[in-house]
């Protein structure tokens, strides 16, 4: 697929400190529009911190961060309108039904009731979940919840969607299913920014950035990285870098 070359995320010299602890040490990177950009690293490498700054949940200590053409610090409200977000604790209300969750999240983005209704039917049909639309979220298997959570995160057609370890705790086959949804979103022009520590997922990304102890250690397409480190798969690349 042809990717546009326009940068939708630009980060220059991003530093985030918590007291003496440096969580993000001078990060600089760009993400291009429509790209699937993977942020890789072990737990505590600083992935989530960076993602929180990009999505406006946390402010940088220093550096320039622009998302969808707006500064995350000064134009936070404008950034918010253009992004979707799915947290690692996948974020649906357990005691609401599938339909109510979609209705609620659509509502807080200011979408009209009619639009939400039409799009919900469409969405449930595509996910083959029409018969569970009135089931409470807590009655569904984790893989389904994650799919719904992702669909909800892009329900308002954001320019970028941030996914923070979206597939934690599910098997590789369910992960594969989930990634079909990510590809669909990417094909429709949504930029996907995803953090993960599953190396099989790294293979699915257009470009990956490997973090270790708050710093970016490598950044390229999976194919070029494997080439560069003379590795069979991303797992080996990661192990070489993390050492």
């Amino acid at each position: 697929m042809l990717k546009q070359t326009e940068n939708i995320i630009e980060v220059k010299n991003l530093v985030k400190k918590f007291g003496d602890f440096v969580a993000n040490d001078n990060l600089t990177f760009d993400v291009k529009q429509g790209e699937i950009f993977g942020f890789l690293g072990a737990n505590g490498a600083g992935k989530t911190t960076a993602l929180k700054i990009l999505s406006g949940l946390s402010f940088p200590t220093s550096g320039i961060v622009q998302v969808a053409g707006f500064d995350v610090y000064r134009e936070r409200e404008k950034v918010k309108k253009n992004i979707g977000y799915m947290s690692q604790k996948f974020s649906l209300y357990e005691d609401l039904t599938v339909k109510e969750n979609i209705r609620f999240y659509g509502g807080i983005y200011g979408l009209s009731g009619k639009y939400i209704k039409e799009k919900t039917e469409d969405l449930l049909k595509r996910l083959k979940m029409e018969n569970i639309k009135d089931s409470l979220i807590k009655s569904l298997p984790l893989g389904w919840k994650q799919k719904i959570a992702f669909s909800v995160a892009i329900f308002h057609n954001p320019k970028i969607v941030f996914l923070d370890e979206p597939t934690g705790g599910v098997d590789p086959i369910t992960r594969r299913d989930f990634w079909e949804l990510i590809y669909e979103a990417s094909d429709s022009g949504i930029t996907v920014f995803v953090t993960t520590h599953y190396m099989d997922e790294a293979e699915y990304c257009d470009r990956v950035c490997i973090m270790d102890q708050g710093r970016i250690e490598a950044m390229d397409t999976p194919a070029l990285l494997k080439n560069q480190y003379n590795a069979k798969n991303m797992d080996e690349v990661f192990i070489q870098i993390a050492r």
Binding site: S91, F104, G110
Partner: protein
């Protein structure tokens, strides 16, 4: 605006779908007011007594009738010799024996003085005290009425000095306190739990990433509880009025307005708790130990503030519930208006603003 209502609707769904929340919200206020009203009350009712009338004349008969028709006492048996007195107490059914001395009416007429002995079972000291006070109060009332009728001045000798005090009625003391306690529980505890639940579930992050500003998020979460707490207050007032005959001497609208103010205070406290606690469990513990216990113990609800050590008196001075209790008592029992309770009202307004201010500041800090 429709975003906001969507939010409120969602919050109601959470509440109505969780039976534990429902139980706390609707079961507890009713249960508490009934328990406090009936059980913990220091009011007496249908106390079993025995009468040992050594005189059996028309005056002793009249006094006996007065005592038995008061509603506080039920005659268990008549006693006619000294041995039966101890026997009666030993069975544990009779709480009090009233003894009229021989030739009661005659002595009254001739000497202007006669005595009644009140024997109370002090194994429950508190009840004994109340029971004997009530009895002597009834006798005093009788004596006063006879005096006013212009009969010969006479004196009936009883030992207890405290006058019959209508405001001693238990429910009058417990309704304002229970109201404060329940509104605190519903407003502060339930809101702090419901906000921290969103943090725990990760849904709060999604809300903060959305274009919703933090003010509507908080308001959307809090407004359903304002409504529910208010309904609770109405239920408590209705119960105390219809079941326990508690008067509402003052302006009902004014009472409800003050109640709303207290609810807002408790809500802002709830928001404050939610900004400092990371989990529902923590929010609950803070609410329990930092709010419930002081509200019960230090607000003057159960223990009189005047009897506390100085340091606890100072602590009680910063208990919002204390001021609310004063306000409610004044309005309901004495029929006071704003001019009487303006200081307490001002305190509540002030502390609400303080809590809200700190919460807003904390909420921002969390984003740094």
């Amino acid at each position: 605006m429709s975003r906001f209502w969507g939010f409120v609707k969602k919050e109601f769904n959470h509440i109505f779908r969780d039976y534990r929340t429902m139980l706390i919200l609707f079961g507890m206020p009713v249960a508490q007011i009934l328990i406090f009203g009936y059980v913990v009350s220091n009011e007496i009712k249908d106390i079993k007594i025995a009468i040992y009338d050594k005189s059996k004349d028309n005056v002793t008969q009249e006094i006996t009738n007065k005592i038995l028709s008061s509603g506080y006492f039920v005659l268990d048996k008549n006693i006619d010799n000294d041995n039966q007195v101890e026997e009666a107490f030993k069975k544990g059914i009779i709480r009090e024996v009233i003894v009229f001395e021989p030739h009661f009416a005659e002595k009254l007429e001739r000497e202007g003085k006669a005595s009644i002995q009140i024997l109370a079972d002090a194994s429950d000291a508190n009840t004994a005290n109340i029971v004997s006070n009530y009895t002597s109060a009834i006798i005093r009332t009788y004596m006063k009425n006879e005096l006013m009728k212009g009969d010969l001045p006479f004196e009936i000798d009883t030992n207890v000095q405290i006058l019959y005090n209508k405001e001693l009625k238990g429910v009058y003391m417990f309704v304002p306190g229970t109201m404060a306690l329940i509104l605190m529980l519903v407003s502060a505890m339930m809101t702090s739990i419901s906000i921290t639940r969103e943090k725990e579930m990760g849904t709060m992050e999604v809300l903060l990433v959305s274009p919703l500003r933090s003010m509507p998020i908080i308001l959307g979460k809090v407004i359903p509880y304002v409504g529910l707490a208010f309904v609770n207050a109405l239920v408590i007032i209705a119960l105390s009025y219809f079941v326990f005959d508690m008067p509402i001497q003052g302006n009902l609208a004014f009472l409800l307005l003050e109640t709303l103010l207290f609810i807002l205070m408790a809500l802002s406290l709830g928001i404050l708790i939610s900004t400092v606690s990371k989990s529902q469990m923590m929010a609950m513990f803070i609410s329990m130990f930092a709010l419930m216990l002081p509200t019960m113990l230090l607000s003057g609800f159960i223990f009189p503030i005047e009897n506390m050590p100085k340091i606890l008196q100072w602590l009680s001075a910063i208990m919002p519930a204390r001021y609310f209790i004063v306000i409610v008592k004044n309005i309901m029992i004495k029929g006071s208006g704003f001019m009487v309770v303006w200081k307490e009202t001002l305190f509540l307004v002030g502390i609400t603003i303080l809590f809200l201010g700190i919460s807003i500041k904390k909420f921002k800090v969390r984003l740094e």
